[in-house]
Symmetry: C2
Subunit: 253 residues, 2 copies
DNA sequence: CGTTAGATTGAGCTCGCTCAACCAGTGTGG
DNA sequence: CCACACTGGTTGAGCGAGCTCAATCTAACG
């Protein structure tokens, strides 16, 4: 809630039962009581602008969020300002779990676009674990999913070439976006700058630009309006030697 | 249980109540009933040799492990054989959680030394969630801890120089080892080869060797008997600009 | 029309890579 | 006891992917 962008806390309470995300096939069907609890667990909604810092390293947020719409990213900084983007957050993703469980946040989260978020009370997490073991299991599942994504990212940064890394990253983000319906006729628009890509891949901005240019020349992606349009996910996947998301239906809190 | 090394399954059943690890100050005190459940959750012990593959990518292990003694590492491979080590596992760490929750393993785990492991039945995880919310919470906590370690690793590989990376890695491993009592008079011995370090840092073997040499020249570490001895953790931390483990007491299943 | 954010391009450098030996310790079979 | 092989560490030489520095360009915006 610090940071450049504005943020507005609303109590609009779109009930979870009619959450548009929940209808998507990517998400597991919830039982009635579970759904009711989640709905009661929800404390309100938060709308933030692009550029807003949702959570920041070192802070002790009392909240846990689920993204309803918009894009964001998690990152860490070194003392001297070097930035590493750890992962991106999309609709349906949970934010702040690490902080809720372990106290202090060890990374920050920033909005890449205007975002709408569900807010949950950290304090009620215990009640969830006590009364809804199925949901508790789901939360662990969500943590394990994040771990998997990080494993892949590590493999990519550690062992792939710049071109492979870029291809992997864009294919990965586009695949996730597609799963939550953010694709217009095969194409996926990702609101990131080349600086974001550089800070995700561990490359310099200049080299990232030259690398992305190769992807553009191969007609795998486009770059325009300060964002990326993925044209050929399969082409990117082949280039990166990546098998794609192994993802089943997942829970949505 | 595939792989080069031998493995022996034992039913020796050292009861959890008298587990030597559990006495360490690094681990949380458990309630009597929790402890009893964990003990009943335990199905046996597994002893493996150095080099044994405990779990492998693509498999569907029915087990979940906690390390009682010894060292191991998690890794992923690219089709062409490039290997990325994701993290190391030490006594008290849990192995196979991702696989237990999500089905198929997406990484492998290999022993760096002879290891002794507690074996748990994957099927009983649900019962744990149902009957012991505190333990369920602990498991999520453990997953979040792994996530934190990966965040740090990503920052390191992505944004630190080779020398900083090496310093970070060895300081990190030595710190964790120290927490579980694996330190003789200030020094910590880590049973890894330079090839392991290279595959963790995303560097070539040759460059890793030259980088480690600098650490040796600065008297921060020693290298001998096919292993590493960390002499000066604080020196390594300073070199890497790393603040150290932010770790509280943690649960031990 | 000046300013700013983001993309682009060229030039030169350097960190980390590959290739190729070589060395030391250890274990094995004859 | 020696010859041989094997693992893991060490070192030098030359190369190249990715870096920094420094401009330039474009579009959006006030």
């Amino acid at each position: 809630m610090t940071g450049r962008g504005d943020s507005t806390e609303v109590t609009r309470q779109v009930p979870c039962e009619s959450c548009p995300l929940r209808q998507m096939p990517a998400f597991r069907e919830f039982e009635k009581p579970e759904l009711a609890f989640v709905s009661s667990f929800k404390r309100g909604e938060l709308a933030v602008d692009k550029g807003a810092t949702l959570l920041s390293e070192g802070s002790n947020s009392a909240h846990l969020f689920t993204v309803l719409s918009g894009w964001g990213f998690r990152y860490k900084l070194l003392e001297d300002g070097r930035r590493q983007i750890l992962n991106y957050v999309l609709p349906g993703d949970m934010i702040g779990l690490q902080g809720s469980l372990m106290g202090e946040m060890q990374h920050s989260v920033e909005a890449l676009s205007p975002m709408l978020l569900c807010m949950f009370e950290r304090d009620r997490l215990m009640a969830l674990y006590r009364d809804y073991p199925g949901l508790a299991y789901d939360i662990t599942w969500i943590a394990a999913r994040e771990e998997r994504m990080l494993d892949e990212a590590l493999l990519s940064i550690g062992r792939r070439s710049a071109l492979e890394r870029a291809a992997y990253l864009l294919a990965f983000i586009a695949s996730r976006a597609r799963k939550v319906g953010m694709n217009g006729k095969g194409k996926v628009d990702i609101p990131i700058t080349q600086q974001h890509v550089a800070d995700t891949l561990g490359l310099s901005l200049v080299h990232t630009n030259k690398t992305i240019r190769k992807l553009i020349d191969r007609k795998l992606v486009q770059w325009r309006d300060g964002g990326c349009t993925v044209l050929d996910i399969d082409g990117l996947m082949a280039l990166a030697d990546w098998g794609g998301l192994a993802e089943q239906v997942r829970p949505l809190l």
